[in-house]
Amino acid sequence: MATIRLSLSSFYKSINEPFFIPSWIKAGLTAIIWYIIYKNLAVIANWVTYDLLGFSLNSHIGSSIEFFIFEVPKVLMLLVVVVYGVGVIRTFFTPERTRTFLAGKKEVIGNILAAMLGIVTPFCSCSAVPLFIGFIKSGVPIGVTFSFLIAAPMINEIAVVLLFGMFGIKITAIYVLTGLLIAIFTGWIIGRLHMEKYLEDWVNEVEAPLENNINVSISWQERLQAGHDAVQDIVKKVWLYIVLGIAVGAGIHGYIPTGMMAGILGKNSWWSVLLAVLVGVPMYSNAAGIIPIAQALLEKGASLGSVLAFMMSVIGLSLPELIILRNVLKMPLVLTFVGVLTVGIIIVGYLFNLIF
């Protein structure tokens, strides 16, 4: 035993000598180990549930537990990789740079660019007001600004990870594309309605925000550090929602009979999309908690259109953000924004129920 411990400790010592294993090899090794574990999660979950814990095959509880043991590490492992990548990418984009880029762009083209930039520009709903004023004051049209404000929260890295982890690549692509389309069209319509007079009066008196970070040059080391910080920050914030969401999803997966949701949220009931949106709009949850539940609903017979509409209305429309925006928008504009966005989501829901 002593000899084993000795050789082990010298082994670990040798891994930690920095000149012995360069950091890029460590990163490579981490990536390989990550990949091997990720690829074998289904086998591991199956083994843990039925062999290690001894649940009987085909039991409700076994099915729920296997689902949980498989999904939680899978989604968390994906989250770490994607959040890291997005954290690094976002160091290349700042709200100020996005604004300068969008200023003076014509509608339509402006709406399209704004919706896409909404995905990559760092955005937190607590920053919505300075961002809004920064856009408006430097000549970004109001409709283009709204395209940005709709896409930014709706298509975020957490939503994309969970969609990919729980639904697969096809539905992720559908969500992102329809999300972009809704942001583009809703923004465009708000622009066509010429609602500039519904901005709060104090906005007119504010001076345009400046580029405050102009002298900051970021090194690659700092960009990678930003990715690292994003992982720490976001994983700490959402892991519990993911675990809870998957636990509820696992319960539905194991206990609710297949097809039960078909009656309530199925494609043949005309009210399903409306119901999904009516429940979804006032609900405020981050994507982390809601997507695993949506996946379980889809599996039990809810239609794709209803599930998509439900997810978009929960993630894309949040009460706290509306309250923050009320500082700069008069009530008619807030209501128009909610109304047009809701109608857009409902149309998408029905469209998908028709197609699939």
Partner: protein
């Protein structure tokens, strides 16, 4: 001198506030820390993202939570410039 933390009260703004406190205490500066939460007051600093840090009305950065070490550097630099 007045160190101003701009932010309407989200989690990131609190994090920045803490880092500022740590930095000011560590440097033992005779600085007053002020938290500005009113959105109209924040906009007078002409920032486009929160949280942001200003010293005596001069914005140093916006839209991120700097580490307490970086804030120490910013404070030291400012003190050196003023004196």
């Amino acid at each position: 001198m007045k160190v101003q933390v701009l932010g309407p009260g989200c989690a990131k703004c609190f994090a920045l506030m803490n880092h500022v406190r740590i930095a000011v205490t560590a440097l033992n500066l005779p600085a007053e820390i002020e938290k500005i939460e009113d959105i109209k007051e924040i906009m007078k600093f002409r920032v486009m993202a929160t949280p942001a840090l200003a010293i005596d009305g001069q914005v140093k950065f916006s839209g991120r939570v700097a580490s307490s070490n970086e804030i120490k550097e910013i404070l030291n630099q400012y003190v050196a410039e003023v004196n």
